[in-house]
Amino acid sequence: MATSVTRRAAMRASLVAVAAPAVLRHARGEAPIKIGMPLALTGPAAEIGEQMRHGAEFWAKTVNAKGGLLGRPIELHVEDTTGDPATCVRKAQLVVERDGCHLLFGMVLSSEALAVVPKLAEWNAIFVSSDNGDGRLTGSSFVPNFFRANISGPMETRVISLWLRRGEMKNFYAIGMDYAWGHNSIDVFKDEVAKAKKNFVGAVFSPIGTKDFSTYITKIRQAGADACFIVMQGADNNAFLSQAREYRLADKVQLVTSIVDLNSIHAVGDAALGLAGSTRYVFTIDNLANKAFVEAWRKEYGTEPDVFEGEQWQACQILQAGIEKAQSTDTDKLRAALETAAVDSIKGKAAIRACDHQAVQGGYMVKVVKKEGFKTPIPEIIAAYPGDEITPACRQMTFES
């Protein structure tokens, strides 16, 4: 589509601006704050990688234009991981050892993050995640140098279950991609359904890269559920939604997805209409900080910021808060500061808690609708939940009640 071209051109421009020595020199010649960002920029996960890069670059540009952070310019070291954990570990090690980055963003896939996290201590590096949903990163796989600024998989599932509790629907089915995120989320969902005293009638997992979902759709139809919980992303998600519309699945079953993003809506068009789901960030969130952010983003890129662009921006805000509080980027000092970092950001209040380094933040439930002034459908917020309701107890992946 036409917007992707302008967006691309704009992104190139921002890259130049970030990297331009002129900008760096403005910042009083102080040593730059180097942030390594291993991202999937090619391969199937590239959509998310691109978004994360945009979010971080936009932040770096904004900060550098104001004279930097602690008077030091932000320098991003972006590397392509192709979405492969082995390459990701190599690239992460590269930015740490070669470029001297002790701050990390990025790692698009959970498998990449899980491979990198055990090495953080050795590298003396802090990793602030903006999209890793795997509950174990703040649970069984927790390490002190990992911080999660984004909503986790269990949290987005919790948002959905809280919303469903209010409704009339009784029977639930679930379909997820056959990997950690899918299994995690569906486990949590099952647990939530049981607590709400409703029926979980079954689940099915599709291998990553599935192209034909007709069999899975048949299974969903046969299950006789009122609603189907979907845990899918990227190409699989697009294929599933397109084919669900082919079969008019939504006529029979309310589709509820764990993550609604603009990219998939653009990719599947009207097939997304009526889809309900949790979202980690949506540009229609109504607060001042977000309005200003969306405004500035539109000016820069000519589009609305998408989920991972917003999430990355918030992650940057949290890191910024931590650095400002610590007045340093020294790993130990920064870790201590980040443990109590709190921001009033585009999603409202978000605060890291010390016990598992998860950012407690509000969750949003949206429904995809047609709206005046937008060419494609957009997500409209239909419910919001405060952070303490949707965040599990420390290092837990399921909820008490």
């Binding site: 498998s111 491979a115 795997d134 056959d178």
Partner: protein, 323 residues
């Protein structure tokens, strides 16, 4: 033969590398050597026996998962876990090869692919052993025996990898120049004739697949503690395709060539992808360029021999004259 002199020189240079190179370069070099070992193991099949395997990632993955599990759950020292994993990979290969060698040519390639993909599927589902899609993380470089911990460090581990590579190279050279290797050469050039001369070619093929898997498993077993993790991607067919390309780019049937090919593949893709997002474009052009302008591979370019090309020419003329 100046091979031994060249090898000694290369070994000396590589042995001195930790003193001269910065840490990140050492990281890259270590991984390049591991991949080099992996590519060399495949060369035994591709270059010496004309067994085009499309599933060699299976060997790497088997080695990596086995070694990872041994290190994570048994507390076995690194020095025991690595060879044990290689051995296991080689033993599994006997079964795989027994089935795959029922076919030949393209069907053989596709059977190897099928097995690798089946292993991939198993790795995805057998959560307790493989950690499913997450893989195994935090794999330690356990010390011992007798508290030997030297291999846990960066330089120490590098020397372990280097020793494994050089040892395997010498082993492979011995193998391909032995009577056994001569039979492999016969299979490469004319399997039906080799069979009719009284060689049980299938048994030779199974043997060479097992050896290649053991050495490929050794590479995988080194990778697990090197990277600290093992993941299903190590078993994916794309990786099998890549290592095949490494062998061909380096120069199949030369042993040293594939090592260089692997290093080239990894270092250049790293360099390019740090430099531009469009690295794949240039990478692809490099491959096509190689085929068109350096058909004998990197090793052929370096050693100045047109051996591979000469061989192709001889074979072509022969086929022309007899068909």
């Amino acid at each position: 033969m100046n091979f031994s002199r060249g090898l000694a020189a290369a070994a000396c240079v590589l042995a001195l590398a930790p003193a001269a190179l910065p840490p990140y370069a050492m990281t890259l070099l270590t991984e390049a050597l591991i991949l080099g070992l992996f590519a060399m193991s495949l060369d035994l099949m591709v270059g010496y026996t004309r067994l085009l395997s499309f599933g060699h990632a299976a060997a790497y993955g088997l080695g990596a998962y086995t070694c990872g599990n041994l290190l994570l759950h048994t507390g076995m020292p690194l020095l025991f876990a690595v060879p044990l994993a290689a051995l296991f990979s080689g033993i599994v290969a006997i079964g795989v090869a027994w089935v795959c060698t029922l076919a030949s040519g393209v069907s053989f390639s596709m059977l190897t692919l099928a097995f690798a993909q089946l292993f991939y599927a198993v790795a995805f589902k057998w959560t307790t052993v493989t950690g499913a899609s997450d893989g195994l993380a935090g794999i330690p470089r356990s010390p011992g025996p007798f508290g030997i911990a030297i291999f846990a460090g960066k330089a120490g581990f590098y020397y372990l990898v280097l020793a494994c590579l050089l040892g395997s190279l010498l082993f492979c050279r011995m193998l391909v120049h032995s009577p056994f290797g001569e039979v492999l050469r016969g299979i490469r050039e004319n399997e039906a004739k080799t069979l009719s001369l009284g060689y049980n070619t299938r048994r030779y093929k199974i043997a060479v697949v097992a050896i290649a898997f053991a050495l490929g498993g050794l590479a995988g077993a080194l990778y697990a503690p090197f990277a600290g993790f093992a993941n299903t991607e190590l078993l994916f067919w794309l990786f099998s395709g890549q290592v095949l390309i490494m062998v061909i780019v380096g120069g199949a049937g030369t042993l040293v060539g594939p090592i260089i090919g692997a290093a080239f593949f990894m270092l250049v893709s790293n360099l390019l992808s740090s430099w531009t997002d469009s690295w794949a474009l240039f990478f692809g052009l490099i491959f096509i360029g190689f085929v068109l302008f350096a058909p004998q591979g990197i090793w052929g370019l370096l050693s100045g021999t047109g051996r591979a090309e000469g061989r192709e020419r001889v074979r072509w003329r022969f086929l022309k004259s007899t068909s």
